[in-house]
């Protein structure tokens, strides 16, 4: 596994049209991103189609990476996750917002600090999720990893929509408090 600096370098070179760097980036990250696509779709055919579009998007948007303030793996993961979930939702229902823009709109300001923040937050979220009640952390995980909406979560836990919204919001604040410690 290449380290984050390598991956950041590959993305920067992709932004300049360097196909060798694209190939290196693919080798370094495709298994990770394919795992994410597979988790969302649960079948290889759709996951493969999604991964193709993920890498096309990475190549085309590489020049925007440097200004978006995310650490390189987070940027790549966010593209893979959002594209997969948008596609899954388009198939399932019209509910829930499109996420395609999210990875383009991240912070312009944190810069290199984002890398440090990322490192300190890595691992921490697992501990902080453990501080939430089991069904709450499960809901956050389902929303992120499976793209479940408030309505789907309400159905899953057999609670009214507003109830699930209220307790998930409280959980997010608790999670943030823990992550900021």
């Amino acid at each position: 596994m290449s380290d984050l600096k390598d991956i950041e370098g590959y993305i920067a070179r992709c932004a300049l049209g360097d196909r060798d760097a694209f190939s290196l980036l693919y080798s370094a990250t495709s298994a990770k991103l394919f795992g994410i696509c597979l988790r969302v779709f649960g079948n290889r055919a759709e996951a493969e189609d999604a991964l193709q579009d993920v890498f096309v998007k990475i190549w085309r948007n590489a020049e925007r990476y440097q200004v978006n303030g995310l650490s390189p793996m987070t940027w790549l993961i966010t593209i893979a996750r959002n594209l997969s979930i948008d596609r899954l939702r388009a198939r399932k229902t019209a509910q829930g917002a499109g996420l395609e823009e999210a990875d383009d709109l991240a912070s312009a300001s944190p810069g290199p600090e984002a890398l440090a923040i990322a490192a300190s937050e890595r691992g921490q979220i697992v501990d902080c999720m453990a501080e939430l009640e089991a069904d709450k952390s499960d809901a956050v995980r389902r929303a992120y990893l499976m793209g479940e909406t408030y309505q789907e979560l309400a159905d899953r836990y057999s609670v009214p929509l507003n109830t699930v919204r209220t307790w998930l919001r409280r959980s997010l604040i608790k999670l943030k408090e823990c992550l900021s410690r």
Binding site: A31, K32, G96, L105, S109, E121, Y144, T149, L172
Partner: protein
């Protein structure tokens, strides 16, 4: 108290956005805030970093071998050089090269650019409708690229940028045409000078001061292959 609840709203909103829990209308409204509010962007970035680590529990799976080729075909199936030049409807390089050699000889002969020593490369960078014509002469000795614009003026408030395309590589910028000049001399870096012999020169329309991205962003106005004089 108000500050705290504002902060809580920001935390929740940016998390809901990162999770994709907002309705489309709410998400668009939030994106409007993101575009002008650096604190909110930081808040979002922080959530994006934290949430991305949830994927640590997902095991990597090697995609099928054939997929990489499928992706590169989708991206580069048409060679970049060709697709770049096809934006203009590039003339046959052979014909263009011959015409360039003849015309440049005449033009450069008149303007006394000719030198006796060493090989010299020339190109006529010409628009399909001849609305822009630039004669270029490259001297490998001092890596100077001398150019004269014999037709065409830049659009008001825009710049013209000169590119070198070598083989299948992406265009590299040689520089921005100096404002208000009909002649220009550029010094080409040693790295690019070695690519000049088999290269193609192109001029694109760019925002004032040149392309912000390092790649051509506007229309390709004119192209011409480099040939040995």
């Amino acid at each position: 108290m108000t500050d705290d609840s504002n902060t809580e709203d920001e935390i929740v909103l940016s998390a809901e956005y990162a999770l994709g829990l907002l309705t489309p209308g709410e998400a668009v409204a939030f994106e409007d805030v993101l575009s002008v509010d650096p604190e909110m962007r930081e808040q979002y970035a922080s959530w994006a970093e934290s949430l991305a680590t949830l994927t640590d529990e997902i095991a990597p799976v090697d995609p099928p071998k054939a997929l990489e080729a499928r992706i590169t075909d989708a991206l580069f199936g048409v060679s970049e050089k060709r697709s770049f030049l096809s934006r203009l409807g590039f003339l046959s390089p052979v014909l263009g090269g011959l015409a360039a050699a003849v015309i440049v000889l005449v033009v450069l002969g008149q303007t006394n650019f000719m030198r006796d020593d060493g090989p010299t490369y020339v190109a006529e960078i010409v628009a399909e409708d001849s609305s822009l014509i630039v004669q270029a002469q490259f001297n490998p000795e001092d890596r100077s690229l001398r150019m004269t614009r014999t037709a065409g003026v830049p659009i008001e408030g825009r710049s013209q940028e000169l590119w070198l395309i070598a083989g299948d590589a992406a265009p590299v910028s040689l520089g921005v045409w100096p404002q208000g000049q009909v002649e220009a001399v550029l010094e080409v870096s040693a790295e690019y000078a070695s690519l000049m012999a088999d290269g193609v020169l192109a001029i694109s329309d760019e925002p004032q001061g040149g392309s912000p991205t390092g790649a051509p962003t506007g229309d390709i106005l004119a192209v011409g292959p480099v040939t040995l004089l």
